[in-house]
């Protein structure tokens, strides 16, 4: 390789999505479409599982991309593109939940037994007992898992979703949620302990 070769700024960017975003910044609309196509389902999935309404999640997904496009001139590829887009996603999800005053999928009826209410796992067992064959249907399991995730505190839920769906590390989740990796460690520990308590009764019947 010739030492006189000066690599372009774009080629120095390791993250391919950040490179696409730099192209968007330079006015390449096809690069933007490529980014949308690449992230639309991922953003939608996180938003849907965070707020619980498909229609609202779709609107917010489009809003995420509109914000990305509007902010293209100020984009600096200093961090991974996914970190940036999920920061926008997280902010929009938090705002959406705040604006509709946290409509929970399943209301916690009693509050006399800690933050999770009256033994929610028992409650869930009572509500959805295994079918005659002793097995839960796939749709029932899916619903129970959704309910359990829906019962998590909104920050715990977002950390879990980013960790599960995007396979992001603690440092990256911390960057997205504007906190420290050690805070994410505690947040995820609490979230997963809560999930275990809520879903443990179903581990054997599945």
């Amino acid at each position: 390789m010739s030492t006189t070769d000066t690599p372009s700024k774009e080629s120095l960017i390791v993250d391919p999505d950040a490179r696409l975003m730099v192209q968007v910044k330079d006015g390449d609309e096809s690069a933007f479409e490529e980014l949308v196509a690449k992230y639309q389902d991922r953003v939608l999935t996180v938003l849907f599982n965070a707020i619980g309404s498909r229609e609202e999640a779709e609107d917010l997904t489009q809003e995420v991309f509109l914000r990305v496009y509007r902010a293209r001139h100020g984009y600096q590829p200093s961090a991974k593109f996914s970190t940036w887009i999920f920061t926008i996603t997280n902010n929009l999800a938090m705002n959406a939940r705040r604006s509709r005053k946290v409509r929970r999928t399943v209301a916690i009826q009693s509050r006399d037994s800690g933050p999770l209410g009256a033994r929610p796992q028992e409650q869930l067992v009572a509500e959805k007992s295994p079918s005659a064959s002793g097995q839960l249907h796939a749709s029932e399991v899916a619903e129970m898992v959704r309910e359990a995730v829906g019962k998590l505190d909104e920050r715990q839920r977002m950390a879990v979703l980013l960790n599960k769906f995007e396979d992001l590390g603690y440092a990256e989740i911390a960057q997205i949620m504007g906190t420290t990796p050690s805070a994410i460690k505690s947040l995820l520990s609490r979230a997963r302990t809560n999930l275990r308590e809520m879903l443990e009764p179903y581990l054997d019947v599945m």
Binding site: V36, N49, L66, T193
Partner: protein, 199 residues
């Protein structure tokens, strides 16, 4: 057989358990925890439960959008841009029109001002002239009663126009009122000359 000692997890270690499963724990802490996991059935059971519930999250729905979503988003961006440009264009046009109106209004005002000043300069105000000549107009009858300039000369020689501080002129008639209030010129000595002559 003696039961094996089961180490219990401290609160910090319990928090570290999830990080340990995620591979996010520092090596030293991970080694310590691994040791406890190896020696404790309950910790192993807890780890298993955590892993299983974590795997249950695979049941969460993963949604998909139609392929045309990307092009729809780009179209929406274009629509928004067009709308923004239209609003900007309207604002620009409005600014230009408003600027023209203000400019014309300023020109008209300036022209009116210049015209007014010119008229004031070219045609002196007759009222102002009247005010300037008020003293003369007020005393016009007295002035008309003066027959000629020789008469005024004679009065001047008698000292009728001298300053009041200098005292009454010799030979002047004693007068109780101030000279300014009742000037001697208004009382011509020659009563026969009461018929005014044309100046």
């Amino acid at each position: 057989m003696q039961p094996q000692h089961q180490p219990r997890l401290s609160d910090d270690e319990r928090i570290n358990l999830v990080a340990f499963l995620d591979g996010e724990l520092a090596e030293a802490d991970a080694i310590k925890l691994e040791d406890k996991v190896a020696r404790s059935v309950s910790v192993r059971r807890e780890i298993q439960a955590l892993e299983k519930t974590w795997n249950m999250l695979d049941w969460l729905p993963r949604l998909e959008l139609p392929e045309e979503f990307a092009s729809q988003t780009v179209t929406r961006i274009h629509t928004q841009q067009l709308r923004a440009e239209m609003i900007e264009g309207r604002l620009k046009r409005f600014t230009i029109i408003a600027g023209k109106i203000v400019g014309w209004a300023a020109c008209v005002l300036a022209a009116a001002g210049v015209g007014f000043a010119a008229i004031r300069l070219a045609w002196p105000d007759p009222t102002r002239e009247l005010i300037n000549d008020l003293e003369i107009v007020e005393n016009l009858d007295s002035y008309r009663a003066i027959p000629d300039i020789e008469f005024l000369d004679s009065l001047a020689k008698l000292g009728a126009f001298s300053e009041p501080a200098a005292g009454p002129a010799p030979g002047a008639a004693p007068n109780e009122t101030a000279p300014d209030e009742n000037p001697p010129a208004e009382k011509p000595p020659d009563q026969n000359a009461s018929e005014p002559k044309a100046p």
